[in-house]
Symmetry: C2
Subunit: 533 residues, 2 copies
């Protein structure tokens, strides 16, 4: 049995102007928490970035989420810890004590992952430890001028960890070498030695039989380089409607996303235990919003692929108007591969069965197939009190060819009225170019005007289907206080964005309007559900 | 001698919802033309998109620019023509009669290129025609349900063309197969036959010895696929500070740019006359603004590589508030390859010697090395009357580590005061992450609020240099009525964006402000030049 570890390697010359000790922020300030997400994990107080060590405990039937954590401020800073939370449904999270911390205040336990060492290859466990709870974390130890890969094990189901006495397990004398993602690979092969050249944008794949001794097997670079790679991942993903699967390499870049700041990309290919070979040299993004970074998959998932990301962006993460915490994760998503125009694409969907109960279901259409015009805007009649709802819209574009001009509809997500005003963000569809868009600009609210908070984003979509020659599209969206996750066409494209309404405001209402006088859109179904916390 | 032609191939199933017959717009409306660029080419009236057939006439010493042209409306529509303009300095353009037109009103002469057939391989010329003026255009003939590659020749220096009697020269029975870019390749080899599979994102390279009979040599796909490829190009680009060069494949994607809509990417590699092999599978963009598409290089340039693009974006090109024309080109740019962190990158710079005379030069600093604080904003004292100016700013970031918060300066491009208000766009630099940004949002003006007019864009930059450990950056910008071209760090990154101030307003003034109380930026030089038309 071979363990294979993907480790990011970037060079000594990289400077991290974004990663600087933050001005300390008074965490004792009492706020109303009006904009804290309900089913997206947030730390009670302090700063969070990358999710780490995601795994499922099959015995306790419990999901574990660790995360990059600075409890002392709402901005990144050292000492940096692995915070910890658990959930039995992936939407309600209990935060626990810090799981792993550094030895000194000017150091950090940087990102990493967890593998369950069922067969005790590491020798850390004895027979009293349930094989499903033989938990080994591998992470980057960030000490002055050096980043090494270290390991630690837990004898209590993942709540506390003991560091391996002979750490580090990988040291290439680099201060930019981090974010190991470890997984078991079942096929045994002898291990090869590779060269260990340090480069700015390179994923290195190591192998080990005991989690302690590692051998470099191969390097990988492709796609959009940005300034540097972070947080790699490698996992086998099933292809829809087939018994086949392909390997997917995930990697994150920051800074330098074409959208600005942080983004996750992926590659589809084959992996023989030693080397990942992509099928093509296409650059693909996992999520095309601005707030989806450092994606990681869960270990120990029996069927399929499940993962989540940090729902923020280094361009502005330390300035968002939340207090006394900063940042949430995305929801956990199931991934598959799907052929779209003869090319394999990653799809993303959430498991709706784990969502909280709906307390108010609005089927706006009563009858099916309502034609939308500017005389008949669709306004839901719930005034949501939770700030948490989802919606499912399927529609058809009635004309084959559409002239420029009045060609779109908007879905308005409105706040409650407060201080005589309503704040809205807007998503919608433009039929002339098959584009979905989101506009999270809110006039008169300061934060959305910041120079890096790109407010207008768009996604080109192939139709989900054709009804005769007419294009059919679908959109599932879930809104949770200050975050909106959009899944277009049954998850073919995902787009995650945070937004920030004025103080005290959060999403209350949803409305569909169009600028077209003649009916251009036929709504086949519009179902909105307010969800209980 | 082998001619090699790059031809775009995309499949039959592609639908072009953006490309629809426009509502006719009254071109007789008299407007003030307050926002018509002065040194960026615009057609006097009507619609323009891709630049076509760019070449230099060495005998007449004249630059020729053809362009996708609909004279009947300010939106795309058929019949579509090759418009034509010439210039002897690349900044003052004379528009001429239409050069090539379709046979029927529901057809179009789509994009293509021009090669000078010095040796009369085509047989179209006799000895009375100067070898520098043996002009052959190759373009896509768009007829119902079919796109073929056709050729035409000119006997009068490029003003009128005669279509080849045996057109088409390439017909693969596809209605999505277009935008040929032809060039001479000096090394003779026999020609190979390749297979001609139709795919959505594929560049095909053909060879010919006479411009009439073409053989498919190879296919190429890489990078960011978007929805489809358009407008390829292939040219040898010199490497700075060396006698070496590499081949660069250009290709455009639309829709589906990660920034939204249209973008140009490029690949660096080798070309043997038959096949282009990229050095790596990196995705790189030619310009990271939103208004730079369908880039094409000029034929017959003696030294170096010169090209220009359409300075608009299919997401909103047919809605911008200009009348009675829509769209301009970019300025012509010189390209080289430069090593940036051990990787070859395309650089872009304009030749400043061809710019109009400066009529007002403001060296704001008098003395060198002025420290910028929020108590000392820098306001230029010219109230520009032309709407055309450039600026050159070199600065140093004084602190190595910068905390989040007040970390940036803004360069404001202000309009004249009109109707009691000043409209501004903002560019600037954030030191905490080495990011340049532009914000072209203008409150209270309708067009910049459109859902696809992404207003905030950013560029991560490596420092141009270090002064001891302090980062040094430079920025050259040129503003021309409704367009701003930015060249960061001596052309390492280029960013082109249009902007639209309120009616009657255009750029008049430039101002540098910062939010930092303590000096964080030391301006080494700030030179602003108002330029004459």
């Amino acid at each position: 049995m071979v363990q294979v570890l993907s480790v990011l390697v970037i060079p000594l010359l990289t400077l991290f102007f974004g990663y600087v000790a933050s001005s300390s922020i008074d965490l004792s300030v009492d706020t109303s928490e009006y904009n804290r997400p309900l089913i997206h994990f947030t730390p009670e107080k302090g700063w969070m970035n990358d999710p780490n060590g995601l795994f499922y405990d099959k015995t306790a039937k419990l999901w574990h989420l660790y995360f990059q954590y600075n409890p002392n401020a709402t901005a990144w800073g050292q000492p940096l810890y692995w915070g910890h939370a658990t959930s039995n449904d992936l939407v309600h999270w209990d935060e626990h004590e810090i799981a792993i911390g550094p030895e000194h205040d000017n150091e950090g336990i940087f990102s990493g992952s967890i593998v369950v060492d069922h067969n005790n290859t590491s020798g850390f466990f004895n027979s009293s430890i349930d094989p499903n709870q033989r938990i080994v974390a591998i992470y980057t130890n960030n000490i002055p001028d050096l980043q090494t890969q270290d390991i630690a094990f837990s004898l209590d189901g993942g709540y506390t960890f003991t560091k391996y006495e002979n750490n580090p397990v990988i040291d290439v004398s680099s201060n930019q070498f981090r974010d190991p993602k470890v997984f078991w690979h079942e096929r045994f092969k002898s291990m090869d030695h590779g060269c260990s050249e340090i480069a700015r944008v390179k994923i290195q794949i190591f192998g080990s039989a005991n989690l302690k001794n590692w051998v470099l097997n191969s390097n990988f670079s492709s796609g959009y380089y940005g300034n540097q790679y972070e947080c790699p991942g490698l996992i086998e993903v099933p292809i829809e409607n087939s018994d086949k699967s392909k390997w997917v390499m995930f990697l994150a870049i920051n800074p330098g996303s074409p959208l600005g700041g942080s983004i996750n990309q992926y590659f589809v290919g084959d992996f023989d235990g030693f080397q990942f070979v992509p099928d093509d040299s296409q650059t693909r993004f996992v999520d095309i919003g601005k707030d989806f970074y450092a994606f990681q998959t869960f270990s120990e998932v029996e069927h399929g692929v499940l993962g989540l990301a940090w729902a923020s962006n280094w361009q502005y993460a330390d300035q968002v108007p939340t207090n006394p915490w900063r940042s949430s994760t995305s929801l956990a998503r199931n991934y598959t591969l799907r052929y779209v125009i003869q090319m394999l694409k990653l799809t993303a969907n959430i498991d709706k069965s784990v969502l909280p109960d709906s307390i108010n279901v609005v089927d706006k259409l009563k009858k099916k197939n309502v034609k939308l015009t500017n005389k008949k805007p669709i306004k839901t009649n719930f005034k949501g009190s939770t700030g948490l709802f989802d919606f499912n819209i399927t529609f058809k574009v009635l004309n084959l060819n559409v002239s420029p001009g009045k060609t779109h509809f908007d879905i308005l997500i409105n706040s409650q009225e407060l201080n005589s005003s309503v704040d809205s963000i807007k998503i919608g569809f433009d039929s002339s170019q098959s584009l979905f868009y989101i506009d999270r600009h809110i006039p008169n609210v300061e934060f959305p005007r910041k120079q890096f908070f790109t407010d207008k984003l768009a996604a080109y979509l192939e139709p989900l289907d054709y009804d005769q020659d007419l294009r059919v599209f679908s959109l599932y969206g879930i809104v949770d206080k200050n975050i909106i996750e959009l899944y277009f066409n049954d998850g073919t494209v995902a787009m995650t964005n945070t937004f920030f309404m004025g103080e005290g405001k959060y999403p209350h209402d949803i409305q569909i309007v169009t600028d077209t006088e003649e009916p251009l859109f036929e709504l086949e179904s519009v179902i909105i559900r307010e969800l209980n916390k």
